[in-house]
């Protein structure tokens, strides 16, 4: 059985009633996994220390998160990306964020100790958090802290980010680090937050060639996405030979997502998860999965339930449990379909399909041509 890491403490990372990064998503997901399997017993993470957070964040920033967390008035929070529309402050946010960091660290420890080749951290994935700045719902960069820990263990890390937004925080934190290859697939920054993640961002100094970005056209559909993912992921494994693949498995590239514009379905996600797993296993690398963005309660929970089944190697059930459905339809007030996977007729057709596919393919080729100069054996 694949180790799953989760604690109720994760639910404390709550940016407010109507905020899209809602802990309800996690609650629904865990409740669903329990409904399917009453013996579902995730591994408890540990709380990350201040020192561990400081392995990637500036002390002056952490000090401000702590003060805001205690409810103190701090004049310059906005200079640190805090107390903004996207990332408001809340009581206890320092500790809540450190629980997510602790979860990522626990996952990394499980893998580093050789206890499992695959592990699922059921939460976190706060990839926008920067050295001295909160950004896009993210306070502490749990992924970067886990990578820093793995580097200290002498492990080379392929960071694969399938969240629909560019994994800018992780990229900038390791921009000059040749022992970490960051590969981010995202809707083009020309249209979507955070704006970075162009093919020409390839790293600097010793790290030139180790930042890979595949910006996708709005309304990119599953086939184009999967073809590029497979091409780039396999090249990354071949040219970089990582020992660990850390996957930020945001679910917001799904066509139902209310904040972005890609058109992935549950079918694409299943292929993506299977490809990531077999690729890592063939390369002899361990795989750590975290969650991430995903703002349609309906779609995100189903995508992550599929992720859970892919990792466990168990064929997922077709139906969602009736008891769970009625419970959550009532609590969330959302329409929730009865099936785990998307219906066959989904999603809506897109007119510019051929142009979108051509542009995506050209960008994937440009990316490989550029980084290939530095990495190709």
């Amino acid at each position: 059985m694949v180790p799953v890491i989760f604690s109720e403490e994760y639910l404390r990372y709550d940016l407010g009633e109507s905020h899209p990064f809602s802990p309800v998503r996690l609650e629904m997901l865990v409740d669903l996994l329990r409904e399917w399997d009453s013996s579902f017993a995730p591994l408890r993470p540990r709380l990350a220390s201040r020192q561990e957070v400081l392995s990637v964040h500036a002390e002056r920033y952490v000090r401000r998160v702590e003060a805001a967390s205690r409810g103190e008035e701090v004049a310059d929070l906005a200079d640190y990306g805090l107390s903004t529309g996207d990332t408001p402050v809340f009581a206890g946010m320092d500790e809540a964020a450190r629980w997510l960091v602790g979860g990522a660290l626990t996952a990394a420890e499980v893998v580093a100790r050789g206890q499992s080749k695959v592990v699922l951290q059921l939460g976190g994935g706060l990839h926008h958090a920067q050295f001295d700045r909160a950004s896009g719902f993210c306070v502490y960069n749990d992924l970067a802290v886990a990578i820093r820990y793995l580097l200290q263990q002498g492990v080379r890390v392929l960071y694969l980010d399938i969240d629909v937004h560019h994994g800018d925080g992780v990229q900038w934190l390791f921009y000059d680090e040749p022992r970490v290859l960051t590969l981010s697939l995202h809707e083009s920054g020309r249209y979507l937050f955070p704006g970075s993640g162009g093919v020409t961002e390839i790293g600097q100094g010793q790290g030139v060639g180790y930042s890979w970005n595949w910006p996708l056209e709005p309304f990119t559909a599953g086939e184009s996405y999967f073809a590029g993912l497979r091409l780039l992921y396999r090249k990354a494994l071949e040219w970089f030979s990582p020992e660990v693949v850390l996957v930020q498995a945001g679910a917001d590239a799904h066509y139902l997502d209310p904040l972005a514009d890609l058109m992935l379905t549950s079918k694409t996600y299943r292929r993506v998860f299977a490809e990531i797993l077999t690729g890592a296993s063939r390369a002899g690398a361990a795989a750590i999965f975290t969650l991430g963005g995903g703002y349609s309660l309906d779609a995100a929970v189903r995508v992550w339930a599929l992720l859970y089944h892919s990792l466990s190697g168990v064929e997922p059930p077709r139906q969602l449990p009736a008891a769970w459905l009625s419970r959550w339809r009532e609590r969330s007030g959302k329409q929730l379909g009865p099936l785990l996977c998307d219906p066959d007729e989904a999603p809506p057709r897109v007119e510019r399909k051929a142009v979108i596919e051509r542009l995506n393919q050209a960008n994937a080729e440009r990316l490989l041509a550029t980084v290939g100069k530095y990495l190709k054996p």
Binding site: T84, F193, Y255, L256, L259
Partner: protein, 209 residues
């Protein structure tokens, strides 16, 4: 944005009596294509890598030797900009005269140089995402108060505007491209539509939930 905000300084310069060979070496060493020619602190002219290559090329009817002086080849008098000029004035002059750079002069003193590359940098800064931000495009009527109404909307939502690019489309309407400090551009766009704004990006996505 003023010329002084985007110009380069200090400037790599050369004297009028230097040889073309020296000028060529200096351009290679410093990685520049334009050398203002200066004598006693006074700007005499400008020498470009193209001037240099044309003058010494075998294809030229009267090729000069590498020992010829800069004075023989330089362009003079030279077009200049003032540090206080708006960048767009410098850009217009460079475009009209089809030249690659302008020495920046305050009184008689050479203060800097502005090249086509600096103007591209300015364009990237004006249109790009230097800070994490999302894109919203809104079409507004070309009349007083419209942009203010849009700005007030973002102020009311506590959303910071990083940059605004506005350009006239057809008569009567102006397209505004904003980069705003938010991941939630879609919900913001929905709100804008409810308030009667014509939002061009992000487009509607009725199936999302």
């Amino acid at each position: 944005m003023l010329v002084r905000d985007v110009m380069h300084q200090p400037v790599i310069t050369i004297g009028p009596e230097a040889s073309l060979k020296d000028a060529d070496l200096l351009m290679w060493e410093q990685g520049v294509r334009h050398l203002p020619v200066v004598e006693d602190g006074r700007l005499l002219g400008i020498l470009t890598d193209r001037d240099l290559r044309t003058a010494t090329s075998e294809l030229s009817p009267l090729p000069l030797s590498p020992q010829a002086t800069v004075r023989e080849v330089m362009t003079a008098p030279v077009l200049t900009a003032d540090p206080q000029d708006p960048v767009e004035d410098a850009a217009r002059l460079m475009r009209e005269r089809k030249i690659g750079s302008l020495p920046v002069v305050e009184g008689k003193e050479l203060k800097g140089i502005i090249t086509g590359i600096d103007l591209l940098d300015a364009l990237v800064a004006l249109t790009g995402a230097n800070l994490p931000s999302g894109r919203i495009e809104v079409r507004l009527a070309n009349k007083p108060g419209e942009l203010a109404r849009l700005a007030q909307f973002f102020a009311a939502h506590g959303v910071n505007i990083h940059s605004v690019l506005t350009y006239p489309e057809t008569t009567g309407v102006v397209r505004n491209v904003l980069r705003v400090d938010s991941l939630e551009t879609r919900p913001l766009a929905e709100e804008l539509r409810k308030k009667g704004f014509e939002v061009l990006w992000p487009p509607e996505k009725p199936w999302s939930r």
